[in-house]
Symmetry: C2
Subunit: 129 residues, 2 copies
Amino acid sequence: MCKDYPPSQEEKECSCHSHVSKLPFIQPCLLLLLYEKPSHGYELMEKLLEFDLSLDAATVYRNLRKLEEEGLVSSQWYTQETGPARRLYKLTMDGEDMLHSWVHTIRRRKAVLEKFLKRYSNNFPNRSS
Amino acid sequence: MCKDYPPSQEEKECSCHSHVSKLPFIQPCLLLLLYEKPSHGYELMEKLLEFDLSLDAATVYRNLRKLEEEGLVSSQWYTQETGPARRLYKLTMDGEDMLHSWVHTIRRRKAVLEKFLKRYSNNFPNRSS
DNA sequence: CTCCCTATATGCATAATGCACATATTTACT
DNA sequence: AGTAAATATGTGCATTATGCATATAGGGAG
């Protein structure tokens, strides 16, 4: 892994791009969902299904707390409605910058997957669906 | 994570697909490279750069040993040429089946990334490069 | 009164990785 | 000859991330 991961706000990307291969996809998904609408963990857990992400509650809550530690989201308790208290998260400015940064990584990652699939097709032309 | 990961040889895919998000990309890359040509760890380490994968030697060697435990590759010491002995790996029949199985996962993973990027573009139309 | 859904959180075992380090062979340079 | 560097594989250790189980608590349905 390179030294400057996660990418700084100045560079918007790290220099070696090695994290393309270990993309912790839940993080950019949370940032995008929170850009669209402030939300809480339990709701986000369900929305993550749209990105084929597993719905383990512990993982979602811990990732949200981690994003908050990094200053990418902020939270406050919300008890207006019925039911248990919710921790309502919203995206910060740094979080929005990080979202844009992630997009570069994800585009590159997509290109790598395409490269793999093309190379596979070259070896197995009959299986290229 | 679902119970039937990795996918069995019968099903070719697991049922919940949650591993799409945690794709250990080094494994399918090793299988594809070994389909193209039997090789050893040090050489594979360099070829993995083509797929943007970090070149930590320990990770490569340990993944190869793991693939061998699972019966997807086989190895034998090779001392014909000059230099230190090499452990020469080649793909097994099960390994080739697993490679085909991985392709389904990677295609789905690619579709998820495209879904993310499209959703991002909807939110930031000016940034859609 | 109990069960289930909503909502958040912690503890523990497991798995995977990065880095440092160890070892051995051969080549290249001084 | 001596020493550094490239080739080649491997282990040990600390860190990190995850899944699963569990705990807690509010509120609605039967």
